[in-house]
Structure formats: structure tokens, C-alpha cells
């Protein structure tokens, strides 16, 4: 026995047809020269374990993306990610699990200018996701005359669809020692919407062997009158990458760390092409990453980290530890 209840549906239908039109043009255009295009396929997976949570037990994601580059002039990308959260048995909110399918596409065109010398990127990413949350509904025993209907449970599925669009304007100087970007994002969750502004500033130092990136996240929820998380959330993210030269230990190409301070919810991460839809209020994180390049075409990235969350509705403060791996290959 099961009943399905739709509690929220997304009115906002993202128009993706122009992007497909561009892709069709790209593949059919007579000016396309096969050598000028390169393809990169990335496969990724992560495993996450929750600690001290009253509801959540563990989670995993699996996904992949295809990156199509035309020299250094433009690129297109498309990807998919499946996420699954398992809940603890007999938890406070009777949640069983969460499943999410996230589809995303993106395109960037680069301009080169002599006025302020550097590369200017104009990028648009679009996301569409379908999230299903499974709850157990307990029904007490009922007496109808002499007949007794025993206690039972049913599973209720709560559907939440969402869509996001994110234009990005970026600048990199020719030496690749300075970087700025202005990320805007608008996400529609049906009942409410989220506006996000996430500017970033990056710079290289120590003969370009090190890279620092600072990104702010300014998130504003609209029409969400029931939220207990506040209308505005702010967080700052700092990441450091160090490139190793010759004689690197374990054949490493680079490694680094990142921290996030502040609070964010319903955030869109433009660097990871991720929309954090089923996460509670994120209250900080720390991560370490290591990257290998066994040959000219293959890259492997391993990341491990810890995050803090709060579910303000039930007062659940918890953390998670995760491991993430991605494997990419160029053609």
C-alpha cells in the first residue's frame, strides 16, 4: 500500500531549447574542423557518512559529465548526477530516504581584449532537478463495528522539482595569475525562489605554483514565508591549490585545501556544478584534495572533507564526513 502526494511542483520550466540548438549548430556547422574540438568525459562519485544526526545515516552520489571545448574560444558541457540519502531507522520525522536526479547543461564563450588585457568569459549554466523524499506514515488500528483494521504503515513520496539558471561573467589575465568572476543564480523551487550572488577573486603566487580562490555566497530566499533559516544567508569559501613540480611524492600533480565559513542553504556551487537542494543549513566545511595526472589525457581527483549542518525545524545539529573521487579523460 502506498499513497503518493505531490506537495510542490515547479512552475518554472526552464527553456533549454536554445542550448540544444547551439549544440546542433556546433555539430553540423561546416566550419567545424574536427581537430579544433576536444572532448573531456568526467565520471564522479562520492560517499558521505552523517554523524550525530537524528534523521540522516549516509548518502552517496554518482554522475558524469561531457565537456566539449572549441580551442580556447568556447565550451559546452552537459551532465547528470544521482544522489541518494538513507535515513536512520525510526527517526524523528519518519523519513526513509531521499533520491534526486540532477541534469545540467552549460556553455561559455570567451572574448580576448586589449583594453584590460585578458580573457573574458560569458557563461550560462542551467540545472533541472527532481527530488523525491520518502516518508513512512503510520496508521493506528481502527475498529469498524466488529472488524478491526490492524495498525499499518504507508510510504508517502514528496516530490520537489527545481530549476536554476546561472549566468557567470569571468576575467582571467593572460598570465593566468589573476581571476575574477561574478556568478548570479536564480533557483525556482515552486513554492519559493532563491537568488544568489557568488563573486570570486583568485590569484597565483610563488611563481604560479600556488593558487588562492576566495568566493562569497550571498543567498536570498524569496516568498519563503515559512522558512526558519532566515531570509538571507552568507558564507565565504577559501581554497588553496599547490602545484607540484618535478619529483613530486606519489606522482601527485597538485593538492590543496578549502574551507567554508558562514551559513548557506539552497546554494548553487558554480565550481562543482552542484545545487544543494536536500542539504540542511550548511554551517561550515573543510576539505582536502589531491590530484594526479598519470598521463597527458587522464586526471584523477580525490577529495575528503567534513561538513557541519543544522536542521532548525527539529533542532538537529550534525556533521558529515565524505570522500569524493572523479576520473576524467580527454580525447
Amino acid at each position: 500500500m502506498s499513497s503518493i502526494t505531490k506537495t510542490a511542483s515547479c512552475d518554472f520550466v526552464l527553456s533549454v531549447s536554445p542550448c540544444f540548438a547551439i549544440l546542433i549548430f556546433v555539430f553540423t556547422s561546416p566550419c567545424v574542423i574536427a581537430n579544433d574540438w576536444s572532448t573531456q568525459i568526467k565520471l564522479e562519485s562520492s560517499f558521505l557518512n552523517y554523524h550525530d544526526s537524528d534523521v540522516r545515516d549516509s548518502a552517496y552520489t554518482i554522475g558524469g559529465q561531457v565537456h566539449l571545448d572549441f580551442l580556447e574560444k568556447m565550451y559546452f558541457l552537459t551532465g547528470y548526477r544521482y544522489s541518494h540519502v538513507d535515513a536512520l531507522a525510526n527517526n524523528l520525522v519518519n523519513m526513509e530516504e531521499i533520491q534526486e536526479d540532477l541534469f545540467f547543461i552549460g556553455a561559455q564563450y570567451n572574448f580576448y581584449s586589449d583594453i584590460l588585457p585578458g580573457k573574458y568569459g560569458l557563461r550560462v549554466d542551467a540545472y533541472y532537478g527532481e527530488m523525491e523524499t520518502f516518508f513512512t506514515i503510520f496508521q493506528e488500528a481502527e475498529f469498524q463495528g466488529r472488524n478491526r483494521k490492524p495498525a499499518s504503515s504507508v510510504t508517502m513520496i514528496q516530490d520537489n522539482d527545481f530549476a536554476s539558471i546561472s549566468p557567470v561573467l569571468s576575467y582571467t589575465n593572460y598570465l593566468k595569475t589573476l581571476y575574477f568572476d561574478f556568478v548570479f543564480a536564480f533557483s525556482d523551487y515552486g513554492d519559493f525562489s532563491v537568488n544568489q550572488f557568488s563573486p570570486a577573486f583568485g590569484f597565483a603566487f610563488n611563481a604560479r605554483k600556488n593558487w588562492m580562490l576566495f568566493r562569497g555566497h550571498f543567498i536570498e530566499q524569496e516568498k519563503n514565508f515559512t522558512t526558519v533559516y532566515g531570509k538571507n544567508n552568507t558564507a565565504i569559501e577559501v581554497s588553496w591549490t599547490h602545484w607540484l613540480g618535478l619529483n613530486a611524492p606519489l606522482g601527485l600533480n597538485s593538492f590543496g585545501a578549502s574551507i567554508l565559513a558562514g551559513e548557506r542553504i539552497y546554494a548553487l556551487d558554480p565550481d562543482a556544478n552542484q545545487v544543494f537542494t536536500f542539504a540542511d543549513l550548511q554551517k561550515g566545511s573543510v576539505a582536502f584534495f589531491f590530484q594526479w595526472q598519470p598521463n597527458e589525457l587522464v586526471q584523477i581527483l580525490i577529495q575528503a572533507g567534513s561538513q557541519k549542518f543544522e536542521d532548525k525545524v527539529i533542532g538537529d545539529n550534525y556533521s558529515s564526513k565524505y570522500a569524493y573521487v572523479n576520473l576524467s579523460r580527454k580525447w
Partner: protein, 204 residues
């Protein structure tokens, strides 16, 4: 009256023509003179007036492209090299010249593709090879660079630059013995080469 007109106007137009020819020639000369004094922006300004009057002059477009590159106007340089190529797509000058502003803009993949295309028409063009090596190094294509420099060394055995790139490729591929051999050859051709001396001192 007609005879008088001829006597007056023919020499006048001849003088005007000669003057304009002299002025144009002096503008070309002036741009060369300014370039020789490393006044690239001024040299470019002179050439820009010429190319405005003669937009389909291949050599004028090449000169503007080159002087734009020297002036740090890399996007403009690309535009004029491409214009020169549209006037003469067989021009190796324009093809290898175009690689310079692309390198300055760190467009390594584009340099790689365009240099390979040039080399398919002119297989042993030295500049195309060196500029391709720069791109291969920037892209971290060490195996490709190693093979490329080995081939190029057979063609340009006295060249130092090819040997330096060969040594770097061997270093990244952890082929220390081969790197030492390549740097030793660099020093034979260029005594006092800092990079070669440092590596040989470190690995002594």
C-alpha cells in the same frame, strides 16, 4: 589657352603624384625607423594610417599585425594576421606570425592546432616547431614534447632551444640520464646556460 593649361597642369599633377608617392614611401620608411628605435606604438600608428588607405595590402596588414604584437595589442595583432591570411592563405609569414599573439594570450590549444596545420604545409618550418614546443610544454604534454624534440633535433642539430625543450621533457618524464645528456649538449652550444648549469649541479 589649351597649350597654357597643359604647361601648367601637367607638371602640377606630376609633382603632386611624386609628392604623394614620396609621402607614402616616407611613411613606410618612418614605421621601419621607429621600429628600429623600439618605438613600437608610434611605428604602429604610422602603419595604421597606411593600412586604412590600403586595407587589402597584404604586407601592410602583416606589418600592422607584427607591430600590434610588439605593442602588446594581441587581439588586434590576431585580427590583422587573420586579415593577411584572408588575402593570402598560403602565407607562412602570417601563419607563424599568428602564433605569437596566441602564445601571448596563453591560448595553448589554439597554438598547437594552428602550428600543426602550418607544419602540414611546411613540415620543417623552424618557428612553427619552436612555438608548438612552447604550447606542448604549457599543456604538460611531456611525452609528445619528448618525441617532438627528438625529431626536431635531427633536423636542427646545432639549435640550443630544441635541446632545452628536450631536456625539460626528459626531466618531467623522470629520465634524469637523458636530461643530463641533453643539458650537456646545451652547454656545448651555449656555455653558461643558467638552466643547464643548475640542473647539472643539482644532479651531480
Amino acid at each position: 589657352m589649351k597649350m597654357i593649361d597643359k604647361f601648367i597642369f601637367v607638371p602640377f599633377f606630376a609633382a603632386l603624384l611624386a609628392f604623394s608617392h614620396y609621402a607614402a614611401a616616407s611613411a613606410w620608411d618612418e614605421s621601419l625607423r621607429l621600429e628600429s628605435l623600439a618605438q613600437y606604438t608610434s611605428a604602429l600608428a604610422v602603419m595604421e594610417t597606411i593600412v586604412k588607405e590600403e586595407p587589402n595590402n597584404e604586407y601592410a596588414n602583416l606589418r600592422v599585425a607584427w607591430l600590434s604584437y610588439l605593442s602588446g595589442k594581441h587581439s588586434q595583432s590576431i585580427k590583422y594576421y587573420q586579415k593577411a591570411l584572408s588575402l593570402n592563405d598560403k602565407s607562412l609569414d602570417a601563419q607563424v606570425g599568428l602564433l605569437l599573439p596566441l602564445l601571448a594570450q596563453s591560448r595553448w590549444v589554439e597554438v598547437e592546432m594552428k602550428a600543426k596545420r602550418t607544419l602540414s604545409a611546411a613540415p620543417w618550418n623552424y618557428y612553427a616547431h619552436i612555438r608548438l614546443m612552447i604550447a606542448e610544454e604549457a599543456l604538460g604534454k611531456w611525452q609528445t614534447l619528448s618525441l617532438h624534440t627528438q625529431e626536431a633535433h635531427h633536423r636542427f642539430p646545432s639549435d640550443v632551444t630544441v635541446l632545452v625543450y628536450q631536456a625539460r621533457a626528459h626531466r618531467w618524464l623522470k629520465e634524469v640520464k637523458k636530461a643530463k645528456q641533453a643539458y650537456a649538449q646545451v652547454l656545448r652550444r651555449y656555455p653558461g646556460h643558467i638552466e643547464a648549469l643548475q640542473f647539472l649541479a643539482e644532479t651531480y
